[in-house]
Point group: C2
DNA sequence: CGGGCGATTGAAATCCCTCAAGCTCTGTGG
DNA sequence: CCACAGAGCTTGAGGGATTTCAATCGCCCG
């Protein structure tokens, strides 16, 4: 089975066999984690970065009053804390939303990549820039989109990102996110998250039962969300 | 006068004279821009990146219904669209909030830096990672902080970032941001922005007249904002 | 069968937005 | 030196959007 990071990067630029080899051999360990467990915690100073091979994870911040904000959702191929390689201190935590398979990559190896493989370095940098682009899009959602549009936008985004990995089967994909967690993503109360979700389901745009999301009307979903996938930068170009 | 980017980076790691020289000579042109003008627009495919030497700029997205969300505020030393070097297409615009002096750096030169100067590359990468960390903090604000706390948090952040550059004089700094723009940062209506601002001023925590902000009670401001500057990663460490 | 987690509902209380003026300050032209 | 226009700030009022509180329901698992 091929490394999902290689898959993700190869949707943005050509990767040489040599680069692929370097990436694969950067992994020193593969581990399985159960759901709802911290991969890294706020305040940690990791010496490795974690690549998600399978499952769903999320970055989050807990506030003093018990409220929580999730700042990103990660899927296979995402380097959940690649930034800790240069930032050094974690300013937020990362937890598993489902059972996950993760790969461990030492910062030391990443450093060597930056010394010897400029093009690969640019691609790793690129992956953090896409994370940032997604952050900006979420800022737009939280700041200016209605609750229903926020949900719609999130589903559009995950639909596209998961499709890239072949994890969407005729409009259906798995999304192990509870409504409490969804509220923490969208900046809404659980109650209102539930009602907004019902609204979207009521219009026969999506179905969401258990962990299974089905996009019934992709056109209308995009329209409700005003979704424009430009920010995911899914174009193969020399970088 | 020294390059403010060098100043910013040297607060996070040692920069060699050689690296400083490389950064300085990367600038092919310096230009002055009036306030309220686009530096780059959404959809552009720039061949240069712009470094802000002086003034205030902001990244923003316009929505179909005329609403706008500002996703970051930039000050001297910030590379406002360094990400366009690898992302290629701008997924948002950047405009000047005040008259600005900007430096133009060709992507071609940035590419050469990634080929020949690994450490400097890591520092440029770092600067985009800090941008992303700020995005995350803003997500927490928009998602979970009250309007008053959002304003307080923004002021704390700008206070620290500007202080780093020596642009804070006994608690006072210039902030050329209208209340309409502030609302577009905070995800609030102008009216509510105004009332929340009054609340903060009413408690004698800050003063904000014209473009001049004065922090009167730094302790209390931090407390209202629950401000923790960790995410700005202001520590000198080998990276 | 009992728990426990997650989803759902109803109702009341707030919060925040929209609409619509009015106000203040500043720069400009007469 | 004053009147005026424009931009930005401020205020009041009303209504819709969200939150909070408090149950209830449904389903899976031991």
């Amino acid at each position: 089975m091929t490394n999902p990071l290689v898959l993700k990067l190869s949707r943005r630029d050509r990767i040489s066999p040599e680069e692929e080899r370097v990436l694969t051999s950067a992994i020193t360990q593969v581990r399985e984690l159960p759901a709802d467990q911290d991969i890294v915690s706020e305040g940690d100073r990791p010496t490795n970065s974690i690549l998600l091979l399978d499952g769903f994870a999320a970055r989050y911040r807990d506030l003093a009053d018990g409220r929580r904000q999730i700042t990103s959702i990660h899927i296979a191929g995402d380097f959940v804390d690649l930034h800790s390689f240069l930032l050094k201190t974690m300013d937020h935590g990362v937890f598993t939303m489902s059972p996950c398979r993760i790969a461990v990559v030492p910062h030391e190896t990443l450093r060597e990549i930056t010394e010897k493989h400029p093009h690969l370095t640019r691609l790793l940098w690129l992956s953090t820039l896409i994370d940032a682009a997604i952050h900006r899009e979420w800022l737009v959602s939280l700041g200016r989109r209605s609750p229903v549009a926020r949900i719609a936008h999130l589903i559009c985004e995950l639909f596209v990102r998961l499709k890239e990995l072949g994890q969407v089967e005729s409009g259906v994909f798995s999304l192990p996110v509870t409504q409490v967690e969804l509220g923490d993503v969208l900046g809404l109360s659980t109650v209102h998250t539930n009602r907004s979700l019902q609204q979207l389901r009521g219009e026969n745009v999506i179905t969401w039962r258990g962990n299974i999301v089905e996009v019934e009307d992709w056109e209308r979903l995009q329209q409700i969300a005003q979704f424009d996938p430009t920010y995911l930068h899914l174009t193969v170009t020399p970088r």
